[in-house]
Structure formats: structure tokens, C-alpha cells
């Protein structure tokens, strides 16, 4: 579904991605783990065209999107829940969800809204409330729901567990799994390696802008090097 071949990305003169290749197949959950500054978020942003990928190709469903502008890419069945949630704080939950559906045929709106509220019942109770007044977990749910309103076939999630209580993290991961079972392909960037790897069909490890390891989620979870670097570090 999404194929990335030897992509480089730069912030000014700093090379954040050094020839990354990665593939996400239809119906998969693919996880990308790595330390701070490894380039995980940059990779997601590069898929969206900002910064623009250089030196390689990004192909989405057979179409080369490397040189498309962000808003064109985001209308091709791809949606992102960005790092730090980035909900619109002074707009209500309902308005945020409307914004998610801004490029979708309005005929789908009611149905999609119902689906979102089924996934995240708390959002229905908060629909008239300003997004800025939601708790962190609720905001994350809203960010995912907003992305889902765009009816993506590929969902990009950037650290959905950031700063959330373990119970909420579990809840969010179970929703991701559910979405995947409904047919949405997911590319998940995470620091919370344990949960993310358990969930993933396949996973990549990104170190200093390069993929150093790949395998099924279970393989990486069992790998001693991954365990040492990402799972047992703080303990």
C-alpha cells in the first residue's frame, strides 16, 4: 500500500533521514520504534510531504507522491493524527470532527460521526465541549477520531500514547486494533515499544535516521537488543 524507497529528509543542513526504506502492506499494523530524535516523526511528516522527501521515492497505492504538496497527499486516502494531538482547542469536539471531514463528501458525515462515537463513546458526551478543555486522553481520542473522519485507508499515528495514563493507553491501543480489523491500514510511531510491538504485525527500528532492524512484532519483542534498548532501559 505504502512503499518508501531510500528516502532522505533534511531540516536545513541536518540530515534527519538517511535513506529509509519501508513498506506497509494493505491491512497491516506497522510500528516504527526508536529513541528520541531517531527520525520517527520526521518519517511520518515526510510521507505527508513536509519536509519533502529527497533522493528516493514514496509510493502510495501505486502513485508516486514524493513531490506532491501536503494538502494533495492528504486527500489521497491517508490521514494523520499528529504528534502532540494538535486538536483545535477553541473549537468544540463536534467542530473538530467536522474539520476532519472537510474534504469528504458531506453525505458520509452522519454515518462516520456515529462510527467515531461508537469507537470513543466519551466524545459523544463531550461533543459540545471545547477541545482545549478535554483531558489529554480525550484529546488523543479526538485526534484519532478526527483523522478517521477523513475516511483514510492508511492511518498514520504519531505517538498516541504520549503522556497518557496506562489505562488510557491500553484503551487507545485496543481502538487502533479495532480500526485495523475494520480494514484500516495503520502506520504507528511509538516510544511505548512494548504495547506497540505487541500490537504490530510488523515493525521497524529506526536509529539515527536509518532502519537498523525489521521483523514481525513478536520477533522484535523477543530480540535481546531491542529489549535492552527500548524495553528494559529505565528499569
Amino acid at each position: 500500500m505504502l512503499v518508501i524507497e531510500g528516502i532522505h529528509a533534511f531540516y536545513g543542513r541536518i540530515e534527519a533521514l538517511k535513506g529509509v526504506s519501508l513498506e506497509v502492506k494493505q491491512g497491516e499494523i506497522v510500528t516504527l520504534i526508536g529513541a528520541n530524535g531517531a527520525g520517527k516523526s520526521t518519517l511520518l511528516m515526510t510521507i505527508c510531504g513536509q519536509p519533502r522527501g529527497q533522493g528516493g521515492r514514496i509510493v502510495l497505492e501505486g502513485i508516486d507522491i514524493t513531490n506532491m504538496s501536503t494538502h494533495q497527499i492528504m486527500r489521497r486516502g491517508i490521514a494523520q493524527s499528529p504528534e502532540g494531538r494538535r486538536v483545535f482547542p477553541r473549537m468544540t469536539v463536534y467542530e473538530n470532527l467536522q474539520m476532519g471531514a472537510i474534504n469528504v463528501d458531506p453525505g458520509h458525515f452522519e454515518g462516520d460521526l456515529k462510527r467515531c462515537f461508537e469507537l470513543f463513546p466519551i466524545l459523544e458526551r463531550r461533543r459540545g465541549q471545547r477541545a482545549g478543555t478535554l483531558s489529554g486522553g480525550e484529546q488523543q481520542m479526538l485526534a484519532i477520531a478526527r483523522a478517521m473522519m477523513a475516511r483514510p485507508r492508511l492511518l498514520l499515528l504519531d505517538e498516541p500514547s504520549l503522556g497518557l495514563a496506562p489505562l488510557i493507553v491500553r484503551q487507545i491501543f485496543s481502538v487502533i486494533k479495532e480500526l485495523n480489523q475494520q480494514g484500516v491500514t495503520v502506520l504507528l510511531v511509538e516510544q511505548n515499544a512494548f504495547h506497540a510491538l505487541k500490537l504490530a504485525h510488523r515493525a521497524y527500528v529506526l536509529v539515527n535516521g536509518q532502519i537498523t532492524m525489521t521483523g514481525t512484532g513478536r520477533q522484535l519483542l523477543a530480540d535481546p537488543e531491542v529489549r535492552r534498548a527500548y524495553l528494559e532501559g529505565g528499569h
Binding site: 513536509q50 499528529p82 473549537m91 467536522q98
Partner: protein, 490 residues
């Protein structure tokens, strides 16, 4: 007495009041207390110590009240407010400046004395707020958030009422020529405020050069009528179109800028337009301006005393009325009222459409907007263009009303005033803009007879608004973060 001073530190209160009194005395004793009078023998000083005494007493009372209010005590300020109000009201209501009690009034003109009532009013309102807050259990404060629905209904009802009053006003017995004229000016600014609100309030793009588009609209009509003899009704949409294209032209280079940088560039653009208007003498008439701009007609019927030379009828003769210049003034008033209401209607409508939502979202978070597949360039250009269009409409109306325009009408301070209207009204609030335009434009016009004092009143009102309503008169969308929780009364 102890009840009055409950919760107050007597010593600190005394020190506070004595300090204020001392400063007042030192400041007023020489400047106010001695009057220089010219007599036949030369200049001499005449003491006016009763005024100094007056100042000292007022400051003592006022500072007592302010101190108590700051300590969240309300009984003493209530008493002080009532006393001051009574001292002012009694002479004001009985015979005014002529009465024996006139020495109680601080100013030599009646309107200023009425304005002085703001001081006790401020104290009383604040005291009442504190009293209310202390009598009410804190749980009640939390309920405020859910009142937004009622709040919306109230503001809708108030809006409709205002529209009705606005339409009825010129034909009502209160509709004097001077008042309708002032209201016409206020309405121009309301329309400009509503137009700028699209750019600043909704899209969140700080535009300090908005008056440039106003100028473009005004000159469009003036020049088109001068060179081609086109009528107001043809030029009105064209003026909007020209202003919108200028908005888009300005938009293109500045779209990558944000916040302060954008403000500076728009400021520069406003000046460029003005400087071009001044210097392109052959085309725009330069600093001389353009005069003799034709007035708008009522469906082809002009407002004038005598029928046009080439035959035809005037407004008055067509409707069988005797000629009255008030007709034209009222017509201009209705014209700008309709234009302004159209602006408002358009804004309310577009807010609910995807483009309006996109403006608000863009104001909140540009990166998130990109992630949703919005093209920020187009969204911003639309905001600039549409905002400028309404300034263009207002500009051509302005030219038609004045009959004469020059670059002097389009200086930076105009932009600042329009921006102040939008900000004071509460960014994004339509009704708030009406109130703040009425205050910022209407008050100085209304109190024009006070001459320089009116700037004093103007400043006072501005300060009071900022104290009471730091987020604008009608803040529709609350700030996300508050330093103090709501209902805390701080």
C-alpha cells in the same frame, strides 16, 4: 462600624488613604490650587483651595473604596459609592449648574458631570459583584459553562432587537439629523469591523493595513465616477472587486508570514497605498483629493431640491414630498445599515460553511490544518480577499457620503481604530463589534461638544473595558487557559 471594616486591616487602610491624599494634595495644591488671573495691574495669583479640598475628599473616598475592593470587602465601598453618587446626583437632578449645590459638581459642563458618575457606578457594580460572589456557594460558578446555549439565544434576541431599533430609528421622534449622521459613521465602522473580523477574528491573521482596502474602495468609486461617470450602484460591486483583488495581491507575498511579521508587512502595505495616492497627482489628485463625488440615488431618483437639468424627477417630487435634506441623510443611513447587515449575514453564513470552519481551524493550528488536507494558501487568500471586499464596499459608501475624499482619511490610525473595535468587541464576536464601535466611534462623536475632554472620557472608557472585559465586550469563544478560575471574581 466594625461590620463595615470587617476583614480589613485598619492601619493599612489608613496608610493607603493618607498616602493617596498626600499625593493628591501635593499635585493639586500648586497646579490647581492657584489660578493665574490677568487683572488691570498685571498678573496675579488667586487661590482656589476649595477645589483642592474637593479633590482631596474625592480621592480619600475613592481610595478607601478601591482599597476595600482589592481586599474583597464590599460593605464599605457600597457606602462610599452611594455617598458619592448621591453627592453628584442631587445637584445634577435639581437645577444642575445653577443650583446652590453646584459646588459639589467637579466639572463646569453637565455631560462631564454625568460621566463622573462612572466612578461611583464602578465602585457600586464591583461591590455588588463581590457581595453576590460571597453570598453564592462556589458550586454555582461551575454551572456557567453550560449557559452558553442561553447566552447564544440572548445574543440572537439582542441582535434582532438592535436591527429593529436601527431600522425604526430615523423615522422615530428621536431621529434627529445630527444623531442619524453620527449613527451613519458608527455603522461604517461597524461594517469595517465586521469585515476585518473575518481576517483577524476568524482567520487569525493580524492585519494592520486594513484601511488600505477601504481606501481602494473609496478611490475606485471616486475615480470611476470622475473618469467614466459611472453611478454609485455600478461602482459599488466594482469597488468591492478591486479591493478584493488588492487583498489577494497583498496576500500572495505575505502568506508565509505569521503574527508580528504579517502585521508589519500589512502595515507597510497600508502606507504604500496611501503614499501612492498622495504622489500620483495626475491620477488621484494627490493631497488635494477628489471632490464632487456624486451622491447615490434612490433607484435613479436623486436627492436634491431642484429637478435635474435633463428633466426627470427627484426623490421628493416623485413621492410627492417637500424637499428635505433629512431624506438624503436617512437614505444614506439605511444604505449603510443594509450594507453592514449584509456583511454580518455573510459572515454568519460563511462561518458555518467549510471555508469558515477552515478559517477558524487555521487560526487555531496551521499544521493540523495541513494534516487534514487543507491548503492554507487558498484559505488565507480567501480570508484576505473577502475581508478586503467588505472594506471596499464600505469605502465606496464613504466616498459617496462625504462627496470628497483625500488620502488623509486613510491614515494608519484608522486601521488601528478598526482593529481596536474588533479586539475590544471580543475577537470573532459580531455583536461585540457593534458595542465597541458604538463606544469607540459613537462616544467621541456624541461628546464632540466637550472638545478635548472627550479624549479623557474615551481613555477612561477604554481602561474600564480592559479592566472589566479583558477578552472583549462579548467574548464568544473563551480563552483556553485562565490564570484564575472563572467566577473567582479577580
Amino acid at each position: 462600624m466594625t461590620g463595615l471594616l470587617a476583614g480589613l486591616d485598619g492601619n493599612r487602610l489608613l496608610r493607603h488613604v493618607l498616602g493617596a491624599v498626600l499625593i493628591t494634595f501635593l499635585m493639586t495644591s500648586l497646579i490647581v490650587g492657584l489660578e493665574l488671573v490677568a487683572t488691570q495691574t498685571g498678573l496675579s495669583l488667586r487661590p482656589r483651595y476649595h477645589i483642592v479640598l474637593y479633590c482631596v475628599v474625592v480621592v480619600a473616598l475613592g481610595s478607601t473604596a478601591v482599597f476595600a475592593l482589592a481586599e474583597r470587602s464590599w460593605r464599605l465601598p457600597m457606602l462610599v459609592g452611594v455617598v458619592i453618587a448621591a453627592l453628584l446626583l442631587v445637584p445634577l437632578l435639581t437645577g444642575n449648574l445653577a443650583s446652590d449645590l453646584a459646588f459639589l459638581l467637579p466639572f463646569p459642563v453637565a455631560p462631564l458631570n454625568w460621566l463622573a458618575l462612572l466612578l461611583p457606578a464602578f465602585i457600586l457594580i464591583r461591590a455588588a459583584q463581590l457581595a453576590y460572589a460571597s453570598a453564592r456557594p462556589p458550586a454555582a460558578a461551575a454551572r456557567r459553562r453550560e449557559m452558553t446555549r442561553t447566552g447564544k439565544l440572548v445574543s440572537l434576541g439582542l441582535g434582532l432587537l438592535l436591527i429593529l431599533v436601527a431600522f425604526a430609528f430615523p423615522i422615530s421622534p428621536w431621529g434627529s439629523r445630527q444623531l442619524v449622521d453620527i449613527l451613519t459613521i458608527v455603522l461604517i465602522y461597524i461594517m469595517l469591523g465586521w469585515g476585518l473580523n473575518i481576517v483577524v477574528g476568524l482567520a487569525g491573521l493580524l492585519d494592520l493595513g486594513y484601511v488600505a482596502f477601504y481606501a481602494v474602495g473609496a478611490y475606485s468609486y471616486a475615480l470611476l465616477s470622475e473618469y467614466f461617470g459611472w453611478s454609485f450602484w455600478v461602482c459599488l460591486p466594482l469597488a468591492g472587486l478591486f479591493a478584493a483583488s488588492f487583498g489577494i495581491v497583498l496576500g500572495f507575498p505575505v502568506l508565509r508570514l505569521r503574527g508580528d511579521y504579517l502585521a508589519i508587512v500589512t502595515l507597510g502595505f497600508g502606507e504604500i497605498i496611501r503614499v501612492v495616492l498622495i504622489n500620483w497627482y495626475e491620477f488621484t489628485g494627490g493631497p488635494d483629493g477628489i471632490g464632487g463625488i456624486p451622491r447615490p440615488s434612490f433607484f435613479g431618483l436623486p436627492f436634491q431640491a431642484n429637478p435635474p437639468r435633463d428633466g426627470g424627477e427627484t426623490f421628493a417630487s416623485f413621492f410627492g414630498l417637500s424637499f428635505d435634506p433629512y431624506h438624503r441623510i436617512a437614505f444614506l443611513y439605511y444604505l449603510i445599515l443594509v450594507l453592514a447587515l449584509f456583511t454580518n449575514w455573510f459572515t454568519i453564513r460563511i462561518r458555518k460553511l467549510p471555508i469558515g470552519r477552515a478559517w477558524e481551524a487555521l487560526r487555531e493550528d496551521e499544521i493540523a490544518c495541513r494534516a487534514l488536507g487543507l491548503n492554507p494558501t487558498n484559505v488565507k487568500l480567501a480570508a484576505f480577499g473577502i475581508g478586503a471586499m467588505f472594506a471596499g464596499f464600505a469605502g465606496s459608501f464613504f466616498a459617496a457620503r462625504q462627496g470628497f475624499i483625500s488620502p488623509e482619511s486613510f491614515v494608519f490610525i484608522e486601521s488601528a481604530v478598526i482593529l481596536a473595535i474588533v479586539v475590544l468587541g471580543g475577537l470573532g464576536s459580531q455583536l461585540g463589534i457593534v458595542f465597541s464601535a458604538a463606544i469607540l466611534i459613537g462616544l467621541p462623536e456624541f461628546f464632540r461638544e466637550l472638545e478635548d475632554y472627550r479624549m479623557l472620557a474615551f481613555g477612561l472608557v477604554m481602561v474600564l473595558i480592559m479592566i472589566w472585559k479583558p477578552t472583549g465586550l462579548v467574548s464568544h469563544r473563551d480563552p483556553t487557559i485562565r490564570l484564575h478560575p472563572r467566577g473567582d471574581g479577580r
